[in-house]
């Protein structure tokens, strides 16, 4: 299904932010912003919610800690208690001090890798994926705002274009996708 998309290009992130504020105040929804670097303060304007990746990372870390604990309990206490230098091996708790380093390392390992993988999957940035930024200059020094008239039934397409033109854009493009 063909859908009209408007791409408005800016050459400064502050101008884009002002523009976005103006459009949002007129009730226009901004579909997406493409930028060469993180624009601080854009998220609340265009309604990007804070990410929950940090919570995920915490959960992965807990999983890592649990696995490490279970593993070391099984290897060193349950399956084959090893007497090394007279260190106590009768119970997990007594031997626990020697397990602290690996418990920590494994927690970090799982938290970091789990989060990184989740991040890549959530972004759909994986090896072999195709980029879809509307203009190659958006990874250099240009900022593009994507608007979809279909998302804004209350305003006409012409009204959107007229408003966008007032926000200090340097290029404007319409595409059907």
């Amino acid at each position: 299904m063909a859908e009209k998309v408007i791409y408005a290009m800016y050459d400064d992130e502050e101008i884009l932010k002002d523009g976005a504020k103006l459009l949002v105040s007129k009730g226009i929804k901004i579909e997406e912003v493409f930028s060469p670097f993180p624009i601080h303060g854009i998220d609340p304007i265009i309604g990007v919610k804070p990410t929950r990746l940090g919570i995920f990372s915490f959960i992965y870390g807990l999983i890592g800690l649990t696995l490490a604990t279970l593993g070391m309990w099984y290897f060193m206490i349950e399956d084959w208690p090893m007497n090394v230098g007279g260190k106590p091996n009768g119970s997990y708790l007594e031997n626990m001090l020697a397990f602290v380093p690996i418990s920590f390392e494994f927690t970090v390992l799982c938290a970091a890798h789990g989060m990184a993988i989740t991040y890549l999957i959530a972004n759909r940035t994986l090896p072999g994926m195709k980029a879809d930024n509307p203009d190659p200059r958006t990874t250099d020094d240009k900022f593009v705002m994507e608007l979809r008239p279909s998302q804004n039934p209350s305003v006409s397409q012409q009204e959107i274009l007229d408003l966008v033109k007032k926000t200090g854009i340097i290029e404007l493009e319409q595409k059907e996708i």
């Binding site: 912003v33 601080h40 020094d141 404007l172 319409q174």
Partner: protein
Amino acid sequence: MHKEAAIREPLILGHKTYHDITEDICKPIEDKAPKMWYVLFGIALILGIYGIGCILYLLGVGIGVWGLNKTVGWAWDITNFVWWVGIGHAGTLISAVLLLFRQKWRMAINRAAEAMTIFAVFMAGMFPLIHMGRLWLGYWVLPIPNHFGSLWVNFNSPLLWDVFAISTYLSVGLVFWYIGLIPDFATIRDRAKKPLAKKMYSLLSFGWSGRAKHWNRFEIVSLVLAGLATPLVFSVHSIVSFDFATSVIPGWHTTIFPPYFVAGAVFSGFAMVQTIMLVLRKAMKLEAYLHTKHVEYMNIVIMVTGSIVGTAYITELFISWYSGVEYEAYAFLNRATGPYWWAYASMMTCNVVSPQLMWFRKLRRSLIFTFIISIVVNIGMWFERFVIIVTSIHRDYLPSSWSMQYPSHIDIGVYIGTIGLFFVFYLLFARYFPVMPIAELKTILKSSGESYKNGEAEVHPKPKPFGGAEPINTKESKHDVVDVKEEEIIDLEASSKLIESIGKAEEGQKDDLKKISGIGPVFEKTLNNIGIFTYIQVSKMTKVEYDLLDSITGKFPGRAEREDWAGQAKKLINKKD
């Protein structure tokens, strides 16, 4: 946006736009490699291949080819291991700890330092592996079900902790590095002209498009990874030190080891960063992003960590006497006055004395001095590990078994080989990867860029009216922020007085005044309008002229004097001749 105090030196010198940053960092990758690159790569490759040859010989014959004996059973191998791991400490410290402390200057060095970390840890990891003698059984260090009656690896042993610590460090470091690289690969991909390069970089960039949501996640991921990597950095070298500290050898089993090793690692890591970056910034013409101030910051870190290391050395000495344990006291006495006194003396000079020189502002801002000290520190830190390891064991409890350690040519070959391999990797990195974080540098351009800080370029430019009537690709030429500025009104009387005292010049004789630090493109124009065109004119300026100039331009009072424009101009005249 990040705010920075006006009196802080800008992190990015001169006038740069976002596009300039992309251009400056991508240029060396897109251009042909300079001849020097091929020369260095060739040398590194030859050394690396020689090292691999030595390793293969060692694997074939056994580790008897190392200069070890019954008394000194651990020498160059573990020394090199700890040395490389130590070097590998700066990268993650820079990217993680400095990120948490919001030290924006890290952005000039973090990418290159992380690469250094990863390659250094590769080299480090090789030593325990070849030390096994039977490399193909290396997987025995992992807790996997096996046919020995399910005999597990010993989780009580610091050597096994090390396996986990180093592998976690390496893989987390790699992930951290790569996540930062993805957006920059996308930048290179979108600029690439050759089809093969485009293909490779689009593969590497994982299809990054720079959506707002992705950037939002990117920042959180960087922050959380930094939070995870910070304790990791400290834990890794602490655990490396446990290899010694949990033993019963006098000179090794000291509780001060973990913090002392960590400080030493940071110390040597920063030294290696200095060695590499001082060359890299020149070769790749990135002086605007990594300048004297960055070098000074790093030198301060070197000074502080060097002082911690020095304090630890002296504490160790004191405690060996104060403890009243004869064996402990002898171990240290033997270090300083025994047959290895020269190793101890080099360690003390390189690591305790040399960083103290950084207290002098002149020295720590001198690039040549820094380069020399960075190499001295690297040598000193190698000796530190050698001293700790060899001098503690070469005279053990039984005088009849006292012995010396002499490296065999295989010892030396493997060590030189790892240096070669390290630089093979590093040169490939510098050739094909962005050596500075392009996207991150853009985030600090407006808060720490020189032209933005002194008001020459606008942080928040006014939107220009859109000329195109219809929304189909109305292209407009790129505009420069500088052009938007209004023409200055010049006080004619004062300026004629100024010209009188410094002499007239014609526009035809014009020098590039921007070369004087403190003068940007806009200010150069202002000077030209007044009638100042040449270095000779600027060099004649004194306090009176500076004040006149300030009264004419009304901009940055006192700046010309503070930065000694006349002095700078004199130097530039000499250079011209």
